[in-house]
Subunit: 253 residues, 2 copies
DNA sequence: ATCTCCAAATTGGTATACCACATACCACAA
DNA sequence: TTGTGGTATGTGGTATACCAATTTGGAGAT
């Protein structure tokens, strides 16, 4: 099958050659089965509601291999990567399990996130272009309404986007990448955190303050505001989740 | 062989039981071949001088499998993890290559490190015990001489330890863990960075300032000093490495 | 009814065979 | 000599078979 695809692609190229107009192509994708399995599993795990009390955290290699129509070998290599991501845990002869993060771990992730984004914001005051800042302000204004309209689903996405924009504006790709790695683990947290009383409106105010500090090119102030903003989420999550943990019930349900 | 090891371990346990002196069992290590191969490869790669002009960055699966006396399967799973760590790159049907970080990437790692350790130091001003701080000061004093004695090898290790202590004192394991992940990539950088004129003595001064800020429990000042200290390394590396990059020579030789 | 113990099923771990693509090499022609 | 094409070989990718440890369930004893 793959062979046939390559053959037909090459055939197409030769045909183009004969006709005389050569354009060249990027040829075949380098994506291997392992990569595709990894992407699909990662997506599935992130979307899954792992904090449901009755959630099935157990993954069976042979079942998955059958569903994905691949052998266990590339599947296991994908699982190895997911394990390194901290999304699953592979216990020898016991099974593969999606990991449930503890409240403590979630809080630590938020702290790390605060550290990274705060530094990103600091750098951004120096390297971000005026156009970047205009973009950021535009984005924040456009979506500030959705928080008032209680359209929290939309605002949640816009909120995430806001923070990603700051990370990108730092010009330091690694900061953004590392923060992304943290976000993945907080999928179940992010939206819920907003769905609480006046969190959203407070968030809008914070964002405006950050934008103004950025526009003023005030590195220290910007870094401080971003850090405090994220640490407010930290405090909020600690307060709210404690209740759930104590009741030993679903956290994200 | 592995089987024999397990057998002898179990035999030991039974013997202990019969003799009457029960000690409890760590049982067999849950370390699988994959894990052990991963550890050994990681160590080997980190120790390897990848920036030598004539360094062989190519790794051959079958050769390694033979040397390690394991099949390619666990080896490849270890390689998958190393790839996710960013230490190697697996190119389909081309080979496995140890990645050479560019100057740009090294600089970004230092920035991220600064972000993490600065936050760690900030937290430490709040949660570190007085005993922790005494320990830190003792460590710094003990090794400040080696910088003067030009015993840079020893001071380099002590220097790393100093920063790890701060990360640990934050009480946030994730910060320390993420910083560790960055350190691995900078093995070839760290020592060299010190082996330059007065870097070491300047470093000692910085450290003392950080300790004093910690002891004063001044969060903002501590965070600032740690950040500035690491960013000085950033500037230093940028200046020094640029020469090497231009000459296209060894960086860590 | 309950407990003990063993055998079969389950499950991840490992070894091995084979495939398709990449590369190097070489024969041969211009 | 130089360039072209084919072919042999090497490499990572994948599939599959088997292994060892664990779990499970039920037969048999108490």
């Amino acid at each position: 099958m793959l062979n046939a695809n390559i053959r037909s692609t090459v055939y197409q190229m030769i045909t183009n050659l004969i006709v005389g107009k050569m354009k060249l192509q990027p040829i075949v994708s380098n994506l291997t089965l392992k990569d595709r399995v990894y992407d699909r599993l990662r997506e599935a795990i992130v979307e899954m509601n792992i904090y449901q009390a009755d959630a099935d955290l157990r993954l069976d290699e042979r079942t998955m291999a059958e569903q994905l129509q691949v052998s266990r070998t590339p599947l296991r290599e994908a699982l190895t990567r997911l394990e390194r991501d901290g999304l699953i845990e592979i216990r020898a002869r016991k099974g593969v399990f999606v990991v449930r993060r503890t409240l403590e771990e979630i809080l630590e992730m938020i702290v790390a996130w605060a550290a990274l984004e705060s530094m990103a914001a600091r750098l951004a005051t120096d390297v971000a272009s005026d156009a970047d800042l205009r973009n950021l302000r535009k984005h924040a204004l456009r979506h500030s309404e959705s928080s008032a309209n209680a359209d929290l689903s939309e605002y949640s996405d816009a909120n995430i986007k806001f923070h990603q924009m700051i990370l990108d504006m730092s010009g330091c790709a690694l900061l953004a990448e590392m923060a992304d790695g943290l976000f993945v683990h907080m999928h179940a947290v992010r939206r819920r955190a907003l769905e609480e009383n006046d969190r959203a409106s407070r968030s809008v105010v914070d964002h405006m303050g950050i934008i103004e500090a950025l526009e003023a090119r005030d590195a220290d102030l910007t870094a401080q505001l971003v850090r405090e903003h994220t640490m407010r989420l930290h405090n909020h999550v600690r307060r709210v989740w404690s209740k759930f943990e104590n009741r030993r019930e679903s956290i994200a349900g």
